[in-house]
């Protein structure tokens, strides 16, 4: 990785952290409603994995799909930050035209195929995206990000089996943050190392530190090469931690402050900043400048866009339920 890329990736991660913090503030101001699940602490995973995916090619990108903690995956996949923020504000200019909200960011123009609130549901959808890639005969792959909690759904086992049987080009990224909502993995899951669970399906798998973006990128590159070369699915597990609660209503009573402090020492932004400073690529002041630039963009462009955008019209309530321009040859009406 060259120096410019290192600096860019650090700035991206700081941006993602700031984006999430800013949504928290907007939520407290009641400008964002519903549920809000923040990604702070796990930035190295989405940033590092997707840095190695095929991106920047619009609908020729790799397909990306995830659960409800989806803002950062969407942003890294290429969804414009203005539109993601506008979606959280419920605006017509939002990624999902204000119909989805925080948990359902979609941007098919960059092959970000959605955030889903049913835990484990993206497993089969991802395998389906991969089946589509295979069927179309492209070199694209599908990348599915989910947490360790999702692995206790039936869809995990059903999909791992079919992905392997049909040799689908899908990368399953397990972001193991140790908690299924508020239940620790030791109390919910018989096998602690998640990557071992797919051995039952004879699937390639590995486990890595998810708090160090360089480790993430190196591991992701190998896994993505494996999948793209047609060797079949791959399950990659990253050990990580979410710094905030499961959602806004989470008081985090299920974990200790000591545990949080230990993980905060491994904050992916702190780890990477320190390394780049030690390597002489950046100074503390450079990072402060980055943060100021990000704050400026956040307030004067992204938040401004979200706040000033129009809401959906009530007369459009019934739009998007079914195809709004159906072909009468298939739909009718029936001639009596």
């Amino acid at each position: 990785m060259n120096d410019a890329d290192k600096k860019r990736l650090l700035k991206e991660m700081i941006f993602f952290r700031r984006f999430e913090d800013r949504t928290f503030e907007a939520y407290m101001e009641r400008k964002i409603g519903g549920f809000l699940h923040l990604y702070s602490g796990q930035e190295a995973v989405a940033t590092g994995v997707l840095e190695k995916a095929m991106l920047g090619k619009g609908t020729d990108n790799d397909y990306v799909i995830t659960g409800y903690r989806d803002h950062v995956h969407a942003l890294k996949a290429g969804a414009p930050a203005r539109e993601v923020m506008a979606e959280l504000y419920g605006k017509e200019t939002g990624s999902s035209r204000g119909r989805g909200g925080s948990m359902h960011i979609f941007d098919p123009s960059v092959n970000f195929m959605g955030g889903y609130a049913l835990v484990g549901q993206p497993f089969p959808l991802a395998a389906g995206l991969a089946m589509g890639c295979k069927h179309k005969g492209t070199k694209q792959i599908a990348i599915c990000f989910l947490g360790d909690g999702a692995n206790n759904q039936g869809t995990f086992h059903e999909t791992m089996n079919m992905a392997k049987v049909w040799n689908l080009p899908v990368l399953f990224v397990c972001e193991n943050n140790g908690y299924a909502i508020g239940t620790h993995i030791d109390r919910s899951t018989a096998v602690k190392d998640q990557y071992k669970r797919v051995c039952a399906y004879d699937m390639q798998a590995s486990q890595h530190d998810g708090m160090d973006i360089e480790i993430v990128m190196e591991a992701a590159e190998q896994a993505i090469d494996f999948v793209r070369s047609g060797k079949g699915p791959y399950f990659i597990e990253f050990m990580t931690y979410r710094f905030r609660g499961h959602s806004m209503s989470d008081a985090k009573g299920y974990r200790t402050r000591e545990e949080e402090i230990e993980w905060e020492k491994r904050d992916p932004i702190r780890v990477f900043s320190k390394r780049l400073i030690e390597q002489g690529l950046l100074t503390e002041d450079d990072i402060k400048t980055m943060e100021r630039e990000i704050d400026d963009e956040m307030e004067n462009d992204i938040i401004k866009f979200a706040e000033e955008s129009p809401e959906p019209k009530v007369e459009d309530l019934n739009k998007f339920v079914l195809d709004d321009n159906p072909d009468p040859r298939w739909i009718g009406p029936l001639q009596q």
Partner: protein, 326 residues
């Protein structure tokens, strides 16, 4: 024009649509090498190969989900669920995903899947193979639900469903797969919207869908012998309902009976009655009657099973009641 069975009509639609567009695939349990439990894909595995006629493991929720994911990127999957009871296992991907993805993406993504499944009682298959469940799918926003009553609709609606951009649930019936009808040899499509008057009449409207249309037709014949001229309306489509055709028929006959094989509570008949109340209450000359299944899990014992499920005689008796003859 040749007389073909319902299953042959479905098979022909698969074959033509798969020949027409290589993005059309079929998937389900035992549909490939075995040719399908009801032969709906017989011979297609040999013709189109294992990548397009896919034998799935017994994992209804996830193979349906895989079909949905594939449909989001241009594949047109025809997903067979061997019995509608098993579709309950796939409700998460059907109801929480397929039905909602277009809406919650603000129209930016779509799931053009077809899910075919037989719903209904056959012969002593007992409670876990006899569900009907049409009412459950018809109450889900974002789905289309159709119920072909015979080979012409089974063929023409499947072809339309494959080409339509919405998720379409096709509810078939175990007792109809061998039902025969003259079907034109040339290609045609049947629309996914619109009820159909399958027998013109003036004294009473008998409303059915799926297998119950046949009960209505049989009852209509008997009513004719009594001098009662019954109109039979096949709903054909449970979502969206064609309230206009229902209204016109009721305004003509002023009397109505709804026959469904499902249980009554919160059912198809209840919904049709509500629409009639809203649309043509003052056209009614008599209270509408519902003929429906008993509110019990379907029993195994043949006598009990028969008692649980509506028959043509039940429809006939019900019609006499509407007519004030009993």
């Amino acid at each position: 024009m040749a007389e073909i069975a319902y299953w042959e009509a479905i098979r022909r639609a698969h074959d033509e649509e798969m020949a027409n567009n290589r993005m059309v695939i079929a998937m389900g349990e035992d549909i490939g090498v075995a040719g399908g439990t009801y032969k709906a894909t017989l011979g297609l595995y040999d013709k189109y190969g294992e990548e397009r006629v896919i034998d799935t493991p017994i994992s209804e929720n996830s193979y349906t989900g895989i079909g949905i994911g594939a449909s989001m990127v241009g594949v047109r999957p025809i997903i067979e669920i061997m019995s509608i009871n098993f579709a309950l296992l796939a409700l998460d991907t059907l109801v929480n995903a397929a039905a909602k993805i277009r809406y919650m993406s603000g129209g930016r993504a779509q799931c053009p899947i077809v899910m075919r499944t037989p719903g209904g009682t056959a012969h002593q298959l007992a409670a876990q193979h006899s569900a009907r469940l049409a009412r459950m799918f018809m109450s889900t926003s974002g789905l289309r639900v159709v119920t072909p009553r015979g080979p012409i609709d089974a063929y023409g609606m499947l072809k339309s469903a494959v080409r339509c951009n919405d998720p379409v649930i096709i509810i078939e019936h175990e007792q109809m797969y061998n039902l025969k009808e003259e079907v034109p040899d040339e290609e045609f499509f049947r629309p996914l919207e619109g009820a159909e008057i399958v027998r013109e009449g003036s004294d009473i409207t008998l409303i059915g869908y799926n297998f119950s249309v046949h009960l209505c037709l049989e009852a209509a014949k008997r009513l004719e012998a009594d001098g009662i001229n019954a109109e039979v309306l096949d709903l054909r489509v449970l979502k969206p309902l064609d309230r206009e055709t229902i209204r016109k028929s009721v305004e003509k006959t002023h009397r109505v009976l709804i026959a469904e094989e499902d249980e009554a509570p919160v059912g198809v008949g209840a919904e049709i009655m509500a629409l009639i109340n809203e649309d043509c209450f003052f056209a009614l000359d008599a209270q509408p009657v519902r003929i429906h299944a008993a509110d019990v899990p379907v029993p195994y014992n043949a006598r009990l099973e028969k008692a649980a499920i509506p028959s043509a005689d039940d429809v006939y008796q019900g019609a006499l009641k509407v007519m004030g003859k009993i």
